[in-house]
C-alpha cells in the first residue's frame, strides 16, 4: 500500500526538480494560503491551510471544528426518540438518511422489526434524500469550476423532491419522521403518482447535467486526471460511497450488507468507474442519482399495504447491549455504534460519518496539485460540514 505514496512522492519530487530548473532565474517564494473558513466550496465552514510554492501546493491541512456541536455527548442526555431530531442535522442535505441507521440500531437492540410497508417507505425516503442531496452536488460542482447555470437547475429540480418530502413529513430539511418500530404517518393521497412524475423529472435533470456539464470540454480538462485516488489508498483512509466506487471499488452497502430495508427486494446497478479522478467521482454520482430515481419507482410499484408501525411500548427502553448499524448514505458509509444500558437514552452513541474520513485524505491528495485544482478536488470529494464536525 505504501508503493502508491512513493509513486506520488516521486512524481512530486520530479515536478519539483523540473520547476527548479525553470526557476533558476525566476525564483518562487513559499507562501501560506488560507482557504476558508468561509468559502463556497466548503459547504459550511471548513478552513484549509495550504503552503504554496508558486502555484503548487506543497503541504495542506484541513482545519475543522468550526461547527462542532457535540452530538455524541448530546445523544447521551436524550431519549431514543429525541435523538432523531439531532441526527438529521448531521448531513443536512441528506436529512432522512441520517435517521435510519440510528433507528435500525435501536430496533436491533430491542429486537423489534418494523412492518414491510414501513421498511419500503423508509427505503423510498432514503433514496429521495439521496436524490435531494446528490443532485445539489451535480449542480454545485459546476459552480466551483465557474459554470453558474447548473446550480440553478439543481436547486430547481431538488425543490420538487423536497416538496414531496414536506408533503409526507412536514419538514423540508428536518423530517424527524422515523420512529422505532415504524414511521410517524402514512402517505398522503395522490403522493405516489406525484412522486413518479418527479422521478421522471429527476432523470431529465440528469440528462441535462450530462449535456451541459459532463460533455463540456472545459469541465473535462479541469476534472480528468485531477485528484487521482488509488483504491487501496482511498480505503486505507476510510473513503466510502461514491468516492471509492469512482476508484473502481465495487462496494455498496445497499447490496452487500443484510438490512431490513427494501433494497434487497429491487434490482439496481452499482456504478463504478476505474479512473479515480474528479471526473469519475462526478460521473458515478450522476449515475447514482439516476439509479436512485429508478429504485424509488420500482419500490412505489411494489409498495406493500398494511400497517406502518409495529407495537412498541409508549415509553421506549432499549435492551442493554451494543449494536452497530451502517448504511450507504448519500455521502458514503454512515454508521452508529449504540451502547445501551437498558435506560431511556443511549449510554454511548458513536456516530461514524462519511465526510470525516472523506476529507482526511486531503493532505495526501492535495500535495503537489495546483491552486485551482484544490477547489476541484474539494468539490469532487463532496462533503457536508455538519457531517464532518457532528
Amino acid at each position: 500500500m505504501t508503493t502508491t505514496t512513493d509513486w506520488k512522492q516521486a512524481a512530486y519530487v520530479a515536478g519539483q526538480a523540473a520547476d527548479a530548473r525553470v526557476n533558476v532565474e525566476l525564483e518562487t517564494e513559499g507562501m501560506t494560503l488560507n482557504l476558508g473558513p468561509q468559502h463556497p466550496a466548503t459547504h459550511g465552514t471548513l478552513r484549509i491551510v495550504a503552503r504554496l510554492d508558486g502555484e503548487q501546493v506543497v503541504w495542506a491541512e484541513p482545519v475543522c471544528g468550526y461547527m462542532h456541536r457535540g452530538y455524541e455527548k448530546l445523544c447521551e442526555v436524550r431519549t431514543y426518540p429525541q435523538v432523531t431530531t439531532l441526527v438529521n442535522r448531521i448531513d443536512w442535505l441528506g436529512h432522512f438518511a441520517n435517521e435510519v441507521p440510528f433507528i435500525l440500531a435501536a430496533e436491533k437492540l430491542m429486537e423489534v422489526e418494523a412492518p414491510p410497508r414501513a421498511q419500503w417507505l423508509r427505503t423510498i425516503f432514503f433514496e429521495m434524500a439521496r436524490i435531494a442531496n446528490v443532485s445539489l452536488f451535480l449542480g454545485d460542482m459546476g459552480v466551483q469550476l465557474g459554470a453558474i447555470t447548473p446550480v440553478f437547475f439543481a436547486f430547481r429540480d431538488r425543490e420538487h423532491v423536497l416538496n414531496l418530502m414536506e408533503a409526507v413529513t412536514g419538514g423540508r430539511f428536518h423530517p424527524n419522521f422515523d420512529r422505532i418500530g415504524g414511521l410517524k404517518e402514512d402517505l398522503p393521497k395522490g403522493w405516489v403518482d406525484e412522486t413518479k412524475a418527479v422521478m421522471k423529472r429527476v432523470r431529465t435533470f440528469c440528462d441535462e447535467m450530462e449535456d451541459l456539464l459532463m460533455g463540456n470540454e472545459i469541465f473535462q480538462t479541469r476534472t480528468r486526471g485531477i485528484g487521482v485516488i488509488p483504491p487501496a489508498v482511498g480505503l486505507e483512509y476510510g473513503l466510502s460511497g461514491a468516492n471509492v466506487r469512482a476508484s473502481g471499488v465495487d462496494w455498496d452497502l445497499r447490496r452487500d450488507e443484510p438490512s431490513p430495508l427494501a433494497w434487497k427486494d429491487v434490482d439496481f446497478k452499482v456504478w463504478t468507474h476505474p479512473d479515480g479522478d474528479s471526473f469519475a467521482r462526478y460521473w458515478v454520482r450522476l449515475q447514482e442519482v439516476r439509479e436512485a430515481s429508478l429504485i424509488v419507482e420500482k419500490l412505489l410499484d411494489g409498495l406493500p399495504s398494511g400497517s406502518i408501525q409495529a407495537k412498541v411500548p409508549r415509553i421506549i427502553k432499549v435492551t442493554a447491549g451494543e449494536a452497530w448499524v451502517h448504511t450507504e448514505n448519500p455521502l458514503g458509509e454512515m454508521g452508529y455504534y449504540v451502547v445501551s444500558k437498558g435506560g431511556l437514552g443511549p449510554f454511548r452513541c458513536k456516530i461514524r460519518t462519511p465526510s470525516f474520513n472523506n476529507i482526511s485524505i486531503l493532505p495526501w491528495v492535495l500535495r503537489g496539485t495546483y491552486v485551482p485544482d484544490v477547489i476541484t478536488i474539494l468539490a469532487s470529494l463532496y462533503f457536508i460540514l455538519g457531517d464532518i464536525d457532528r
Binding site: L235, A320, G343, K350, N357
Partner: protein, 203 residues
C-alpha cells in the same frame, strides 16, 4: 478466508459475532493481522467508550441507569452489563471498526485501557486513516496513542481543558436548566400512574 478467531488466536480476550476484544498490549498487532490475514482493507472508525456510570443530572431520572425503577416494571432490563464481548473490565475502552471490501465482512476490535494512564499503540502506521480518529479520541477521551505523529486538537480550540466525552465532564446546559424535553417521557395526564410501559402504541 480464515475466521477472525483463528487469525487473532492468542490475542483474543473474548469473541462473539463480529466483535472481538484483545489485550491492549496487542492492539496494534491485532490491526496488522486483520489487515494482512483477514484482508481488512477499509478503515471505518476508531473511538472510545467511558464505562463510568453516568452521573444523575439534576431532575433527570432518565439518564441515571442505576436508579431503581419504580413499580409496575417487572421485566425491566438489568442495568449491570455482563462483561464479555460487551462491556469492559476497566473504565476506558478503545474500539475500532474495520471492513473487508473483498469479503464484505467487518470486525469490531476493542481493548480495555488502564484507568490512570489510558494508552495504546497508534494505528497510524497500519491505517493512515486512523490519524484523525486518534486525534479525536485523544481530545475527547484523553487516550494516548503512542507513536502518533502529532496528537493535537482537531475539533476543540487549542486551549480547551478537559475531555468532553468522559462521563465526568459536566454538560453545563443540563446543570443550569433541566431538559424541557423530559415531558415526553412522563405519563400523559389522565393516564394511570406508572412509567407507561403497559400502554401499547396503537397501530
Amino acid at each position: 478466508m480464515s475466521s477472525a478467531a483463528e487469525v487473532l488466536g492468542d490475542l483474543l480476550v473474548a469473541e462473539e459475532g463480529d466483535v472481538v476484544r484483545v489485550d491492549r498490549a496487542n492492539w496494534k498487532r491485532a490491526a496488522e493481522l486483520c489487515r494482512d490475514r483477514l484482508h481488512m482493507d477499509y478503515f471505518c472508525f476508531l473511538s472510545g467508550i467511558d464505562w463510568l456510570p453516568a452521573p444523575g443530572l439534576s431532575g433527570e431520572k432518565v439518564f441515571d441507569p442505576d436508579a431503581p425503577t419504580d413499580g409496575g416494571d417487572e421485566d425491566a432490563e438489568p442495568t449491570e452489563m455482563e462483561t464479555g464481548v460487551a462491556g469492559g473490565d476497566t473504565r476506558f475502552q478503545v474500539l475500532a471498526r474495520l471492513y473487508s471490501t473483498r469479503h464484505k465482512v467487518g470486525i469490531t476490535l476493542k481493548a480495555d485501557l488502564d484507568d490512570a494512564d489510558p494508552a495504546v499503540e497508534s494505528w497510524t502506521t497500519v491505517y493512515r486513516g486512523a490519524d484523525w480518529h486518534e486525534r479525536e479520541a485523544w481530545e475527547m477521551y484523553g487516550f494516548r496513542f503512542d507513536g502518533h505523529p502529532s496528537l493535537r486538537h482537531i475539533y476543540l480550540p487549542g486551549e480547551f481543558e478537559g475531555h468532553p466525552l468522559r462521563k465526568d465532564f459536566p454538560l453545563l446546559a443540563r446543570e443550569v436548566k433541566p431538559w424541557p424535553g423530559l415531558v415526553d417521557v412522563e405519563p400523559m395526564p389522565g393516564e394511570p400512574e406508572g412509567d407507561g410501559e403497559a400502554e401499547e402504541a396503537s397501530a
